[in-house]
Subunit: 323 residues, 2 copies
């Protein structure tokens, strides 16, 4: 069961391997937004996103006899790199099923980390079925992107770091905003916060048109996105909340916000100029929610999870216009 | 006298005020460059550069009766913001003499931090004389950009953090590369390293055409730059090594490197894509030196100081072409 003990165990496994990402604060951003804004910079994590934590914890928790069969994963790019880097540390094979239209940087870096790439067409093929086929044939263990206890527990280690960092500065957070795709990061972090800092209000943030978790929280059951929407947030546009992550998030969260693409682009640009951080669109939705006035921040403290920074330089230079 | 004790005293003054910037490592960058590359990310410091440290230490070291008269500084932009932010913390007035062609971001942020701006023409006016005139009239204390013991000691606190961070990971550095303008950052850091980690080889890095410190180290005396060169590294294009900083650097350094603008632009882009960090050209010259093969890194460990990240988004998007 996903609980604080399982997440603390993950932290012990990860201790020498993950980057303790900083919790950063900028006086000019505080002034502009009227409260204290603390950024948990997981874009500075190994492989450029939080995904390394969950992948490493999953692989580390396998029996050696399972592990040596290698691993297989499906991912739009961030989980792919996390799995590849973790597999490399254990010197085992990794295969990643990735869409043909994944950002080039994510594809290139996954290969550089030694993983074998299997490309598929997002519109016509089922990535999970492809991964299960590979697993059946080779015996490789599947490392799911979110619906897995060990993966969720690995992502949850961010929550323990945040609470430790806040306490070292004798602070409490009134709010925490976190990007949500499948919901593994949110499930892990919210489990820690509910246990260690229960007064903090927890909200998930999604792009408009992909606010399946927000709507599902309101209805109390898992709802899918409509297939027609598009978004620049490639990292977090999953079809519906995870089977295992959703009950956790339903129990833990105070609600969710959906943000417009224009606010997301403003957030990415602001993080560049004012925070000196490269954050991909899907990683910047938390700040976008603040820019869109979703929260009454006045005088209060908010933690914003910046979940990843894997963004093609060319796309950023072109201001996310279609190249 | 600038020594370890003075720098340690500065660290005590700064303790609750500065950001302990992370020392970051990226597996893919290591692989590409063939050694361990550790980035000290001072672009994540308050005001986006290391300059806050020296300015704060200087202002904190003043007698209250001096301090209340306010401060005045001259700067192309990073020192300006550092002085403005430190003065704001002490609730005293700050005036900054800044060139009319300073990057917009630097100018805007200095004003946002509550400083009064006095603009001057770099080609025809003497910024130091203007600041001295203001000081004579108002009694404001001058906070020099580098030729000052308290300023150098403040910058040196970075050296203590680096040694602490290396030791926590049971590491030693073979090399350290640091951007140099006036030389205050280099003087402070090198004083710490010579004292605590004497086997580390220390090198300053400058843009071609502004390698006054490199040439001065070779000749053993202060040489000026030729007036005709231009560079995108606005933060570090000082006319000649500092009077007080140069003897320190001459005693401490193993040498210096000059790097081409194209290598500097590559370094800025690489830090964006691979390190998820926004680093201004002058702050990225250390990595540029590695990209230009100035060091034989094979299997060894280098610390690279990323000294600042204050760069206009528009200039970066235009790839530093003249707008």
């Amino acid at each position: 069961m996903l609980d604080y003990a399982l997440i603390h165990q993950a932290l012990t496994r990860l201790s020498d391997h993950r980057v303790v990402t900083p919790l950063l604060e900028y006086p000019l951003i505080n002034e502009m937004l009227g409260g204290r804004v603390l950024f948990k910079a997981e874009n500075l994590q190994k492989t450029g996103s939080f995904k390394f934590r969950g992948a490493f914890n999953k692989i580390a928790s396998l029996e050696p006899s399972q592990r040596e069969r290698g691993v297989v994963a499906y991912s739009s790019g961030n989980h792919a790199q996390g799995v590849a880097a973790a597999a490399q540390l254990f010197s085992i094979d990794a295969t990643v099923v990735m869409p043909t239209d994944a950002p080039l940087l994510k594809r290139r870096n996954t290969e550089k980390l030694g993983a074998r790439l299997v490309l598929y067409d997002q519109k016509t093929e089922d990535r999970k079925a492809i991964a299960e086929g590979i697993s059946a044939k080779t015996g490789a263990i599947i490392v799911p992107p979110y619906d897995d206890e060990m993966v969720m527990a690995g992502q949850g280690t961010i929550g323990i770091e945040i609470v430790t960092q806040l306490r070292m500065s004798r602070m409490e957070a009134d709010f925490l905003l976190c990007p949500v795709g499948g919901g593994g990061l949110m499930a892990g972090i919210s489990t820690v916060l509910r246990s260690l800092m229960p007064s903090t209000q927890l909200y998930c943030v999604e792009p408009e048109g992909f606010d399946d978790t927000r709507r599902s929280l309101e209805q109390g059951r898992r709802l899918a996105n409509h297939g027609s929407a598009i978004s620049i947030c490639d990292a977090i546009i999953t079809p519906m909340p995870g089977e295992m992550t959703f009950p956790v998030n339903l129990a833990n969260l105070d609600g969710g916000f959906a943000v417009e693409e224009s606010a997301i682009i403003s957030a990415v640009d602001m993080l560049f100029e004012m925070a000196k951080l490269v954050v991909e669109p899907g990683g910047a939705v938390g700040l976008a929610a603040l820019l869109a006035n979703k929260l009454e921040l006045q005088g209060r403290t908010v933690v914003i999870i910046l979940s990843g920074g894997n963004m093609d330089l060319g796309r950023f230079r072109a201001q996310f216009k279609v190249l």
